[in-house]
């Protein structure tokens, strides 16, 4: 009665299509971060305390959150250098709304997401339908968004922001059982994005587009829709990040908010092993990249070194991380898409 055993090819076995969830780059990053944490704990006893780790985790959330969107965009072969300006526009609109009409927390977050998604939609539509290089368009919208944000600011800082967003901040209100809410939210978003990108057809489409847009189109993927979606997602997350930025700041908001943020985000993403040429990247790597960058920043400050020195190490880590990735690719002549 027993049916003859049929050997299925290895590739068709469920669970074997995708590579192991943690790639080489991520293992290297985890090791580097572990070494840094141990070294810093030995060098300055203050590092491994709650008063230092919690602010570190809170401080990395805006960059990591936008980094998740940026990972999707870079995986499709694009880039978004306008995210700093997007954060600025969202932050000032939220701050003005909170000062002017005292909107509640949920409305503030929704407002940020709405404004951010709208700006992302503009980027995505110009890039997908104008068929222009993403870097040029987003350099342009960087200036345009900055202009729009400054116009909303008027010529002054926004003062007297109510503590509506404190649940996302550094203080006691921002924690449950010692874990900061903003970090929890980041983990939830990252987990959803990780699953979506790795285990759903829609998520795999982004990788296909980055690998070869023409082949992706011929395979029936609506390339333009996916590309627009990536930029909308990035804008939306930038809107949430703007709420975190306000929550971490004081009761006033200056026009310099978000300035230069785009480079920190791109640094976190590329340190995480996402290929700038598209087709390869992972959300987990981006989280680790953001954690590494923030660890360096916090570490340099706590060691009593000049805080500007941290950028030197960030630059060095970019070279080392991307260099290690290049070496691995060279050893493996046909790079496979990973999560």
């Amino acid at each position: 009665m027993s049916a003859p055993a049929v050997d299925r090819p290895a590739a068709a076995r469920p669970g074997r299509v995708l590579p192991f969830p943690v790639t080489g780059q991520e293992v290297v990053l985890i090791a580097v971060i572990a070494v840094l944490w141990v070294a810093l704990s030995l060098a300055t006893p203050a590092f491994a305390t709650e008063g230092s780790v919690v602010p570190l985790l809170v401080a990395m959330t805006p960059i990591a959150l936008i980094g998740i969107g940026m990972t999707v965009v870079i995986v499709t072969g694009g880039i978004d250098v306008s995210v700093g300006s997007t954060v600025m526009v969202c932050a000032v609109v939220i701050a003005k709304a909170m000062v002017g009409s005292g909107i509640p927390l949920v409305a503030a977050v929704a407002l940020g997401m709405g404004v951010g998604a709208l700006l992302g939609l503009l980027n995505g539509a110009l890039i997908a339908f104008g068929r222009v290089q993403a870097i040029i368009i987003t350099f342009g919208t960087l200036n345009l968004f900055r202009f729009a944000g400054l116009q909303v600011f008027g010529s002054a800082t926004v003062e007297g922001i109510p503590p509506t967003l404190a649940p996302f901040g550094r203080g006691d209100e921002g924690r449950t059982l010692g874990v900061p809410h903003s970090f929890l939210l980041l983990l939830v978003v990252a987990a959803v994005a990780w699953y979506y990108l790795r285990h759903t057809a829609g998520g795999r489409h982004f990788f296909a587009i980055g690998g070869d847009p023409t082949a992706a189109r011929l395979a029936g993927i609506s390339v333009r829709t996916r590309i627009v979606l990536g930029y909308v997602l990035t804008g939306l997350l930038a809107g949430v990040a703007a709420c975190f930025v306000i929550a971490q700041g004081t009761s006033s908001l200056a026009a310099s908010v978000g300035s230069g943020l785009e480079l920190s985000v791109i640094a976190a993403v590329v340190i995480g092993g996402t290929s700038i040429t598209g087709g390869r990247g992972s959300v987990l790597g981006t989280l680790l990249g953001a954690l590494l960058v923030q660890t360096v920043r916090t570490g340099v400050t706590q060691l009593g070194w000049p805080s500007q020195l941290s950028d030197l190490f960030v630059g060095a880590f970019i070279v080392v991380a991307v260099g290690a990735d290049l070496l691995r690719q060279r050893r493996r002549p046909t790079p496979k898409g990973t999560t």
Binding site: I136, T141, N143, R146, S155, D311, G315, I318
Partner: protein, 343 residues
């Protein structure tokens, strides 16, 4: 006839830029004649604003070389090189008492060394240019801030340099033309001439266009692709070193954030290169386009400052820059599809 004119304006970037330049100048002069502006938009005002064109055009020429070298070529670190080299130049000239000529040479060489690091990462190790220059942007910017504890250097010799940044009356022509900032003649014109000569009249220039157009074909025709691409980054660094000297003279102070404060100097330089018809995909770009694009942006900005006084003026400059860049990019893409590219 109109179709041919349209084709000329769309395919010849210099033609389009000349049309836009004339439009801006005529509009502003008309507004000025009707007293809509807060100060007259006169020839001498236009000449005096050229001081802003010197660093902008030189860095755009640096981007021209790097972007033309192809394979995603771009240099985000030029502003950081300006900051770092400016500080070292400030030390040499302002504190160690070096004479001017060796100090300028030091700035040139240090800039070239920074560029050589970029070029090594990109051409020899195969880093994507965006990543390599993002990393060195961070590194150079950080060093520039740390090297003198974030303090500027403005000792007496550095302050006296300011006299070299003032306007001069042209010899021979005399007062017939307005006074033009000296930096135009001492730095911008020589740089532009050298870059033009190398690109248009030497085999090195032809090699650069060749590797930018097609890496593989260039290698098979016997060109040392790595060395050529590396040279482009070295040249961009050297030009940035010269811009550092210009910037120190202009501000009468070596500032640690001279090229990196705010949006930095790299973004406007890339913007102008793109506007000047340099194709981001490499292999296409001319000095004339970059120079015309600089004039367009500088004179447009100067007009906006008079038309929209106060803080709003600088904000509208951002708006104008963004619109110009987006429209130029869309136009490039359109031209590519209809006529097969700009020239």
């Amino acid at each position: 006839m109109t179709a041919r004119a349209l084709r000329l304006v769309l395919t010849q970037r210099t033609a389009l830029l000349v049309v836009l330049l004339v439009a801006v100048v005529v509009t502003m002069t008309t507004l000025s004649g009707n007293n809509y502006l807060s100060a007259p938009y006169s020839a001498s005002y236009m000449a005096s604003t050229l001081i802003n064109a010197v660093p902008l055009a030189m860095l755009a020429l640096a981007e021209l070389l790097v972007i033309t070298s192809g394979r995603g070529g771009i240099d985000l670190s030029v502003g950081a090189i300006v900051s770092l080299t400016g500080m070292v130049f400030g030390f040499a000239y302002g504190q160690w008492g070096w004479p001017l000529a060796p100090a300028v040479l030091l700035a040139l060489l240090l800039g070239a060394a920074c560029g050589a690091l970029n070029g090594f990462l990109v051409a020899h190790l195969g880093f994507p240019a965006l990543i390599a220059t993002l990393a060195t942007y961070y590194a150079f910017r950080s060093l520039a801030l740390v090297v003198n504890d974030q303090r500027p250097i403005n000792s007496a010799p550095v302050q006296e340099l300011y006299s070299t940044a003032t306007a001069v009356t042209l010899p021979l022509v005399g007062d017939a033309l307005p006074r033009v900032p000296l930096g135009i003649f001492t730095f911008l014109v020589p740089t532009a001439l050298v870059v033009w000569f190398v690109l248009a009249r030497t085999t090195a220039g032809r090699r650069l266009y060749a590797i930018g157009t097609n890496d593989v074909a260039a290698r098979w025709s016997g060109i040392d692709v790595r060395r050529t691409r590396w040279s482009a980054y070295v040249a961009a660094g050297a030009i940035s070193g010269l811009v550092a000297v210009v910037t120190v003279a202009q501000f009468a102070s070596a500032r640690p954030d001279a090229g990196t404060s705010g949006n930095g100097m790299a973004l406007p330089a890339i913007t102008i290169a793109i506007l000047g018809g340099v194709a981001i995909t490499g292999g296409v770009g001319r000095v004339a386009g970059v120079v015309l694009a600089t004039l367009l942006v500088v004179w447009l900005n100067a007009g906006i400052l008079l038309a929209v006084p106060g803080n709003d003026g600088t904000q509208f400059q951002l708006f104008a820059l963004g619109v110009v860049l987006v429209v130029a990019a869309l136009l490039n893409a359109l031209t590519q599809r209809r006529y097969g590219g700009t020239q």
